[in-house]
Amino acid sequence: MGNTAKFVHKISKGGRYMQVYVPKEKEQEFGVGDLVEVKLLEKRVKLYYSPNLPKLIEFKEQMIRSIFSILAEFSDIQQVFIIGSFLVKHVDYNDIDILVVSSSLDKNIEKNIYSEVTVKYPLRFHMLVISPDKFNNLLHICPVTRGMLSNYVSSKPFTPPSKIEIDKNHILFLLMMPEDILDVSVESRVYYDNLRRLIVIERFLKNKKLNFQDIDGEINHLLGSSMRPILEKNELLAKEDVSSIRSKIQKKIFIIERMLKDEQI
């Protein structure tokens, strides 16, 4: 017998040790006392869901597993999140958002990750690569980041820090776009995204949960069931509707600015 004898099996959990069983039909080749080598062929990819996210359909889970598996080949990548509408919408999701926490921010890494993923899945991906330190900082100060991570599927367990910090300059930076679209005419979807951003900022400052369901409820309440789909689908808005939405945006900005001036913040 040469050294070609082999079998493929999954590791299972034993009482004290992890174990690999030798199949009964292989006992002629693999006997007690023989020396063997165990080699990892494929890492089992586990998906970690955010608490309120319903289980995804098999196709999506399979795709995420496959993406995580591709990205596991990059040694600098510490954690990968799938976020955004892909997780909550059945069909009409936009890009597939991938947030990558990586110790290397080499300019090529984003390009390499993108090309590896799109070779397997020729879809529209939006890739964001950030360092662990900055990611950790953003989790404390950035409402948008926290909001985005209210729904996720992660390659590792994840719990956002419960303590937040109010970084006034950062919030003011986030308010720039909502303020600008009070004067500048933009496509209707932009009003929707910015109203959503304001809801997230307000809830962050009030230390409220940023989960998708609550934010969705608030946006429904603000826009009503007839206006929301028009904005979401980026359809043309009547002049009076633009005024009405701008007034809602302005009110939200006013509330946020007042909170920022508040001594408690």
Binding site: H126, I130, L138, N169, L172, F173, M176, V184
Partner: protein, 104 residues
């Protein structure tokens, strides 16, 4: 709309778009630059819609550049939450955006 009004509208849009783009580049905490840069892209798209339908003379282009520089400087100056490095890259960003719109 008269040409001078179009130039006014175009430079307003470009100044705001560039303020977003520069802000996302220089603010060290805006590591989520790729996301915030989308704001700049949205506004640049609106500026392109204004620029594309006009024939611009050499004189117009000089006027646009001068006006944009002034407006952008004002836009950046009043926003002290954007890092002061903003003024260092202002000129190159103006060149870059005007070049992209064939306005240099």
């Amino acid at each position: 709309m008269s040409k001078s009004k179009i130039i006014k509208e175009l430079t307003n849009l470009l100044a705001i778009a560039l303020r977003h783009r520069i802000g996302s580049k220089v603010n060290s905490k805006e590591v989520y630059a790729a996301k915030y840069a989308r704001d700049a892209d949205i506004l640049l798209r609106e500026a392109k819609k204004v620029a594309i339908n006009e024939h611009w003379s050499k004189n117009d282009k000089i006027k646009i550049k001068a006006l944009l520089n002034k407006k952008l400087k004002d836009e950046l100056a009043i926003r002290d939450f954007i890092d002061n490095k903003k003024f260092d890259i202002m000129e190159s960003e103006v060149e870059d955006v005007l070049n992209g719109l064939n306005l240099l």
